[in-house]
Symmetry: C2
């Protein structure tokens, strides 16, 4: 593994070795940083040490920076005790809601001249130290929740951490951050979960008609309720404001459907849908399939080795696979492999695969 000089000089103490804490530790170790691991669970620490994420805490540790990566509910309390226990250390946290934590620390009289909260917009479906990845933060936004009580010089340790881990530093106030994540993360979670709730008592033949659209809308509904109760509770105000505006739209929509033939009803429905077009077009970057690539759908027998053979032949043809999505055709021993390649390669690939006997489905 290539070792890159870290911008951090002293040791970094990571408190809480779940997914985020372990990923921070692994990334810093790749930079040769002395990483100190602490967790309420000695087992988790032992696992993280085995993963090469760092060393267990020891008396006399003098960390330059402390990264608190514990559940949102206990973050403020742990940050406060770390600030007290290490009077020379800068402390940050990675909780997904920021304003409440800073307020709680101020209320407790904690030394916020050494605290700078942050939030990496990165995660995975699974948690725990074993899910940790050194590259988890590569190219992901990482918000620094700026406030006026910490000096520029001290704040730089947190900036260094983010840059070391390949994150894209975004500076916001805690309030801007909380409103922002309510909009692009917390409310979508609620909207998706409430949609999926409708499936609980649905006839299974109806669910059998489900396509990619509804799967996408409800994918995040599989998220961990325990974690989300904490997040939504900590950001209740911002989430509620957006949900209320969402409900107002929904009410108008429901009214319009009461009599779709009524004057103006169709126009109102069309306007709501067009508003959705306008809104989604404001999301930067890719939605679903990346427009920079052309896609080719190939039918693959659902047997071991078949997909491998396809990809091997794509390799022989000399085309690089930019992305791949597998779709299982329901009730048949065949799958559809949607292959994304550079646009200039798609025609040649299609021709050569067809010549090799593959069935191109589009």
């Amino acid at each position: 593994m290539r070792l890159v000089e870290s911008r951090l000089t002293g040791p970094v103490r990571v408190v809480g070795v779940g997914l985020l804490g372990t990923s921070v530790a692994l990334g810093l170790r790749q930079r040769g940083v002395d990483v100190i691991l602490a967790d309420a669970s000695p087992t988790h620490v032992a696992i993280a040490v085995d993963l090469g994420a760092g060393r267990a805490a020891a008396p006399g540790d003098a960390p330059e920076l402390i990264v608190v990566a514990v559940p949102p509910d206990v973050t403020a309390q742990v940050v406060a005790s770390e600030l007290a226990a290490f009077p020379d250390a800068i402390v940050t946290d990675v909780a997904s809601v920021k304003a409440g934590i800073l307020q709680e620390l101020r209320d407790q009289g904690a030394d916020v001249t050494r605290y700078l909260g942050s939030h990496p917009l990165a995660g995975r479906e699974r948690g725990g130290p074993l899910a940790g990845r050194a590259d988890l933060f590569q190219g992901r936004p990482w918000v620094v929740a700026a406030h006026d009580d910490i000096s520029y010089r001290r704040a730089s340790a947190v900036d260094d951490l983010i840059l070391d881990l390949g994150g894209t530093l975004v500076e916001m106030t805690p309030e801007q951050h909380d409103r922002g994540v309510a909009l692009i993360s917390h409310v979508p979670q609620v909207v998706s979960s409430l949609m999926a709730r409708r499936f609980i008592d649905a006839p299974s033949d109806a669910l059998g008609l489900a396509g990619q659209g509804v799967r996408d809308v409800t994918r995040v509904a599989a998220s961990d309720p325990d974690l989300w109760v904490q997040i939504l509770g900590a950001n209740a105000g911002s989430v509620r404001d957006i949900l209320v505006a969402y409900r107002d739209d929904l009410d108008r929509f429901i009214d319009a459907l009461a009599d779709p033939a009524a004057p103006g009803a169709r126009r109102r429905v069309a306007e709501e849908l067009a508003g959705g077009n306008a809104g989604v077009s404001r999301l930067p970057g890719k939605h679903g399939t990346d427009k920079r690539f052309a896609t080719l759908t190939v039918m693959v027998d659902d047997r071991p080795g078949q997909l491998a053979r396809l990809l091997a032949e794509i390799g022989e043809i000399g085309v690089n696979l930019e992305d791949l999505r597998l779709e299982h055709a329901q009730g048949r021993q065949v799958g559809l492999a949607e292959i994304a390649v550079l646009p200039e390669a798609v025609d040649r690939l299609s021709t050569e695969l067809a010549a090799r006997g593959w069935r191109i489905a589009g």
Copy 2:
């Protein structure tokens, strides 16, 4: 292209050569069926003929089966005129809402003993004849909206069409179908569009924090409002019923967030979210949310052939790949292959892959 004998004997007339009509025609041509193309737009017919989708309509055509693939708003009217113009033909349509069309035909006194509506659950982001694909319906559910006025023998022509095109035939009453698609397609569309509407006036730095979750939730919000106004108008009753139940959940959620510290508030939020877990787990087989499989994430160099080598070795190990998702670590020459396998196989696979030098990322 391999030519497979069709189950249909006579010519098939396709009315409306957009995405669905052209795809039906192309699929039937592959089976050697004599396909007659009709459309309000002579240009579209000319394009479809050039694509090899069939021949233009001519005097004296005597189709065995007529497939009406026109916009929902005009489907019933076109079906009625086709029934009148071709007294010996069986007529079906592919509109995404079914009960209203049958009712309208009955009200008009059309000969519904020769009409059997259907709905293929297939589509693409792009429309028009050029987007047509012979394999568009391969392995997709295709609902036959059964009613009592058409005889079993006559209905078989529609079954033959669906089987010819590789669709999975699903029989439902028109009402069951409309409630089903309201739940798994129409309501998710509304929920997604209303979510995306919230982005219209959002600060762009907040939108810059968007991750895959919100992109998935709002992807279908990019759909064509003109088409959806027709679909939602035609299925207003079923859609509205589900939206009202959805709003009741939303109201409870909003109330709980008004005072998240109040007794029972957290429990209510947790129950709504857990309900989302339970609901989404009922969607049949698809990655991410599919609890029947265990997943393993392997790091793969982003070079041609690497992924093929991985899958070949998985084949050697003798484990069947149930699903696979590729994730590119942004700005790095490495990808992450998330592999879904049967739970009992995951430990052995993880061990053997690691022994072969693969980096298991979780």
